[in-house]
């Protein structure tokens, strides 16, 4: 119970920044995804438009969660706010779960709005809601975990470097994987290579739930993401310490 309250408090501590800066929240969660969605939508053939929809959802989910998780710690380090948190009895996993909650509060409302808009525009039809939610939850957990682990690994670096690297990683995950278009557009070898990126598997699960085909077996994607989740959780629990951060 104590740890649940701690997770709640850490989540709120971070989420409140975004929730209190409503204009920035609207920009990051709605304006930015739609500025990518609209031109992609206009230049894409009708048959490929559902890929644009899935791409926008995965982009919003991954980019927001990864960058936010990484930069929350970097900002706290920069402003030395982290020193106050580190003096309290919180472990690495509790801190991470707090960030996970914060990311959920910041990202999921935007995802819901995006899905509703896409649905109204008849670009996307979610057929298996439970599978769609599972895909989103996988994406949320994995991107937050990568962002957090990145922040710990880069803890000796300055704030600007961390911001740049987290953005580069998030863009690699989103734009290197064929999530905005059918993977069949890629050469066979490249198609095989990009299956190492979790984003394509997240898009695959969300896509299968919405009748969008990425050509990867559902079970394969689920197993891959589950292994990744377990590995990241072990790293965060065992290998990362909230210590020597600056």
């Amino acid at each position: 119970m104590v740890n649940l309250l701690r997770i709640y408090a850490i989540g709120m501590l971070y989420a409140k920044w975004m929730l209190k800066n409503k204009l920035f929240y609207v920009y990051l969660t709605l304006f930015m995804p739609f500025t990518i969605l609209v031109p992609f939508y206009l230049i894409t053939s009708e048959s490929n438009r559902p890929y644009i929809a899935i791409g926008t959802i995965v982009f919003t989910l991954l980019s927001n969660s990864l960058v936010t998780a990484c930069q929350d710690l970097a900002v706290d380090k920069l402003l030395k706010r982290i020193a106050v948190l580190l003096s309290k009895p919180i472990s690495s996993i509790v801190y991470f779960l707090g960030q996970l909650l914060s990311n959920a509060l910041q990202t999921f409302p935007a995802i819901i709005v995006i899905v509703m808009v896409l649905n109204l525009m008849k670009i996307l039809q979610v057929n298996i809601i439970s599978l769609f939610v599972v895909g989103l939850l996988f994406g949320w957990y994995i991107s937050t975990a990568i962002g957090y682990a990145l922040a710990i690994v880069l803890s000796s670096r300055d704030y600007n470097t961390i911001v740049i690297i987290s953005n580069v990683v998030s863009f690699i995950l989103v734009f290197l994987a064929p999530i905005y278009y059918p993977p069949t557009y890629l050469p066979k070898l490249a198609r095989l290579a990009v299956t190492i990126l979790p984003s394509i598997h997240i898009a695959n699960i969300v896509g299968i739930a919405s009748d969008v085909n990425y050509g990867i077996d559902l079970v394969q994607s689920i197993i891959y993401l589950l292994i990744l989740i377990i590995a990241l959780t072990i790293i965060i629990t065992r290998k990362t310490k909230l210590k020597d951060l600056y």
Binding site: A9, K16, W17, S87, K88
Partner: protein, 303 residues
């Protein structure tokens, strides 16, 4: 409460040596002053003791636990130097979330926040965003959060810098009242040595990463070699021949005498009485802890 450090070293990645073989033991002290010039290693030492960073070498234990274990048991309250707050939150929200993070149940957390707001005189700004507060009020919020959950060991890094004199006195009173009430211990980094000398029972003096002095404030004062300084302005040098003390300096008709014991002091007072016709004015001063501090630092620099 017991803190033990042995041969503690900290060398940062950029090669800066912050601590060089610091060893000390603190047992059941109440208020320990950690003093030293800028860059002496005070903040680094605090950050090692509160488990924020690891030493490069050496041993440190808090109640026979590592700092990490002690931190996870909630033993610490820390007010870091120059740390910013989560300024987009209100005072109440900030303290409430930190109380939950400290491990307090919700109702206890609410009660604790009300008490802290009362104690630190923040009631006018309870629901105000921290970013709208003045520097002094922000400092009070930062100090208040260190007391959440009745920690047994407080690390306070320059807690009264930026506060007006009246507020500084109030803050010292709050800190001392807390230490008495909870039988807690505080390690305090401050440059206002004389403000806290009456409360402190131990002074650790760091200079260039080395521990130059470890003792009571009285021991530190004794380093000066005198307890009273008497300045006498003479109208004639006639009295000078009969000055009953040997440790003094003169500048024309001015004497600055350094008195170490009470009998010598009484003799000097009698001398002033006897030669009052030749004395224009005199001033008796108690040397400050800061003077002793400077002497030890200068000695450290020269050696």
């Amino acid at each position: 409460m017991e803190i033990v450090t042995r041969n503690l070293w900290k060398i940062y990645g950029n090669g800066i040596i912050a601590l060089q073989g610091i060893s000390f033991e603190l047992r059941n002290e109440k208020l320990v002053i950690l003093a030293g010039p800028n860059g002496a290693g005070k903040t680094t030492l605090i950050r090692i003791l509160d488990g924020e960073i690891s030493p490069s070498r050496g041993y440190v234990s808090i109640n026979n636990m590592s700092p990490d274990e002690a931190r996870l048991k909630g033993l610490f309250g820390v007010m870091p130097q120059e740390a910013q707050l989560h300024e987009y939150l209100s005072v109440k929200e900030y303290l409430y979330y930190l109380a939950l993070i400290k491990g307090l149940p919700r109702n206890d957390a609410r009660r604790e926040v009300s008490k802290l707001i009362e104690d630190f005189m923040l009631h006018e700004y309870t629901n105000e965003r921290i970013e709208h507060l003045s520097g002094g009020y922000k400092k009070r919020v930062l100090l208040a959060q260190a007391f959440i959950g009745a920690p047994q060991l407080l690390f306070l890094d320059e807690p009264t810098v930026g506060l007006d004199p009246e507020m500084r006195v109030k803050m010292w009173n709050i800190i001392m009242k807390y230490l008495d009430e909870y039988n807690a211990m505080a390690i305090l980094v401050t440059h206002y040595l004389d403000e806290v000398k009456d409360y402190a029972n131990r002074v650790l003096l760091l200079h260039r990463g080395k521990l130059l002095f470890n003792g009571s404030p009285r021991d530190l004062l004794n380093k000066l070699g005198y307890r009273y300084r008497v300045k006498i302005k003479l109208t004639s040098d006639k009295a000078l021949e009969n000055l009953p003390i040997c440790k003094y300096i003169t500048r024309e008709y001015e004497i600055e005498a350094f008195v170490n014991d009470d009998s010598e002091f009484i003799t000097l007072v009698k001398f002033i009485e006897a030669y009052k016709d030749y004395i224009a004015e005199f001033v008796i001063e108690r040397p400050s802890l800061e003077e002793s501090y400077l002497k030890v630092i200068r000695f450290g620099e020269s050696s």
